[in-house]
Symmetry: C2
Subunit: 327 residues, 2 copies
Amino acid sequence: MIRIGIFGYGNLGRGIEAAVHKNSDMTLAAVFTRREPSALKINTDGVPVVHVSEVEKWTDKIDVMVLCGGSATDLPEQTPALAKLFNLVDSFDTHAKIPEHFEKVDSAAKENGKTALISAGWDPGMFSLNRLYAACVLPDGKDYTFWGKGVSQGHSDAVRRIDGVVDARQYTIPKAEALEKVRNGENPDLSTRDKHLRECFVVAEEGADLKKIENEIKTMPNYFADYDTIVHFITMDELKREHSGIPHGGFVIRSGKTGFNNEHSHLIEYSLKLDSNPEFTASVIAAYARAVYKLYKEGAVGCKTVFDIAPAYLSGLSGEEIRKNLL
Amino acid sequence: MIRIGIFGYGNLGRGIEAAVHKNSDMTLAAVFTRREPSALKINTDGVPVVHVSEVEKWTDKIDVMVLCGGSATDLPEQTPALAKLFNLVDSFDTHAKIPEHFEKVDSAAKENGKTALISAGWDPGMFSLNRLYAACVLPDGKDYTFWGKGVSQGHSDAVRRIDGVVDARQYTIPKAEALEKVRNGENPDLSTRDKHLRECFVVAEEGADLKKIENEIKTMPNYFADYDTIVHFITMDELKREHSGIPHGGFVIRSGKTGFNNEHSHLIEYSLKLDSNPEFTASVIAAYARAVYKLYKEGAVGCKTVFDIAPAYLSGLSGEEIRKNLL
C-alpha cells in the first residue's frame, strides 16, 4: 500500500482524500493542517489530523506527500521545504514561474534523495501532456487551448472584491465560433476576446449601484477588460441553488499538415468535461503519486513533471497486463 | 541528425518519408525494398534505394529503422530479425498477438544491445495511451473506443474478394446515438452493432448479380454479419473520384465518477480526424523514432511500447524548453 499524506485540507485536500479511496493500492496516512487539528473533521475514520508543525515526525510513515496549498504563496515555500523530507506531488499552476519552482524543488529533492513531481492536475497536467504529444506528432501545425465552460476561482474572487458585491461566481466559456474555426483546420489567429466569453453571476448589497458594479467588472484590467463579459445580478438563494458547483473543463486542439505538399490535414482534440474541478485535479495527482512512489523505489530522485513520466508508471497494473489489455 | 531507414515502401513507407521531411532533426538514410531497387522511384532525391538482402551492410549508417510491412506476415518475422541489427520502430497492430511479438523483439533487442519500440501509430498507439491515462486518472469509470469515420483496408479487401466485385471501399462509421450516450456519462453496454455502422461502395462487374453480392457482404462472418451494413453500387469513375482517399479517425472516451458518494461525473475524450491514415501513423512513428534514438543513447535497450516512453523523449526540445513553453 502506498501511504499518502495530505498537506492542507481545502477543496483539493478533500479531493485527494476521496481519490485515495478510489485507488485500492493507496491508503491515507495523515492529514496535515495549519488549523487546530482537533477542530478539523475529515471524511475518513481513524486517520490522524496533525498540525503542520509536527510534519517532520512523519518522514518514515508517509510514502508520498500531496501538497494541497495555493500556488500564489503556499507552494513556492512549502514544496521546496517538504521536498527535503518527503517524496511529493504538487499542483503548482503559475505557468510563468514553473521554471524557477522546478529548480528549487529539484535541488531540495536531489540533495535529500527524494522524488518530487510538480504541476500535476489538468492544466498544467493532462492538457500539457496533450499539447506536447500533439506537437511532436504534428510538428507542422498549430495548437489551441480553450478553457470551460467552468468556474474560475480567481475571477470570482476578483468580482467579490468590488464594493457592493456580496458574492459572485464567474464562468469562463469558450466561444463556439472560435472552436469551430479551429476544428475546421482554419488555423485562425485568435485574440483573447475571440477565444473566451466571461459570464458573471453577482449578488449585490441591497441598494448597491448595479450599473457601477457592472462597469467595474467589465473594465477590470487583466481579468475582464480584454473579454466580452456578461453580468447577471441574482439573489443569494439563486446563487446557492444554481451555482454552488465547481465544474470546469476545456479543449486542447492541434491541427496540422502532412505530406510532401502539405496535402493532408489532421485534427487532434482532447477535451475534459468535469463536474468537480478539485476532485478531477486530485484524481490526476493520485495517479502521479503512484508514479512518484515507483520512481523513488527505482532510485530516480529529483524533480519531475508529467513530461518525464512514462505512462506505465501511472498504472497499478504490470507491463504485461497493460500491453495485453490496453495497447 | 537522426538517420532513419525505411524498410518497405508502401503507403506507410511513403508516409515515413514525408514525416522525415517535417522533422528538422531527422534525415532519410536509405529505403529498403523487396522489389528490384532500380525500379523503385522515391520522393527524396539522392537517397539510396537498397534491396532488403543488403540490409546488414547498413548497420552503422542508420540510427533507427522504421518497419513498414504488414502485421499479418511481415512484421512477426522482420521485427525480431532486424532488432538484432538496428534500433527500430514498428506499427504491429494485431492486438491479440502483441504480448508474443513483444517477447520475441525484446529478446532479440536485448541480446544485441538494441532499442526497439513496437505497435506505434494511433491504434495501437495514441489511442492506447489515452486509454491508459484515462483509466489511471478515473479508476472508477468505463472507456469506449470508436473508430471512424474512415476507410478500413481489411474490410475493403474482404469485399473485393467477392465474386463479381471489381473494386470496393468500406467505411467504418461510429453510430451517433452510441457516442451521445457515452458522452452523456450513461456508461451504456454497447454491442458491436450498437457502436459502428459499415458502409460499402462497390464497383460490380457488368451483369453481376447485385442482390447476391449485397447479401454476401451483409452476411460475411466476422467482417459484416454483426453490423448494420449499407451497400452502394457505384461506377469505377465515381469510386476513383469520391473514394480515393484513406481518411480515418475515431474517439477514445472515458467517463468516471469521483467523490465519497460518487457525486461527480467526469468525461475525458480524445479524438482524431485524419485525412490520411498512413501519413498520420507515420507521423506518430517518427516521433517515437526520436524517442528510440534518445533511449538507445542512454543505454535503455530492449523492447518498449508507447506506455514505456516518457513524453519528453518524443520532443526535439530540451526539458527546460518544454517546461517553459508547454507545461
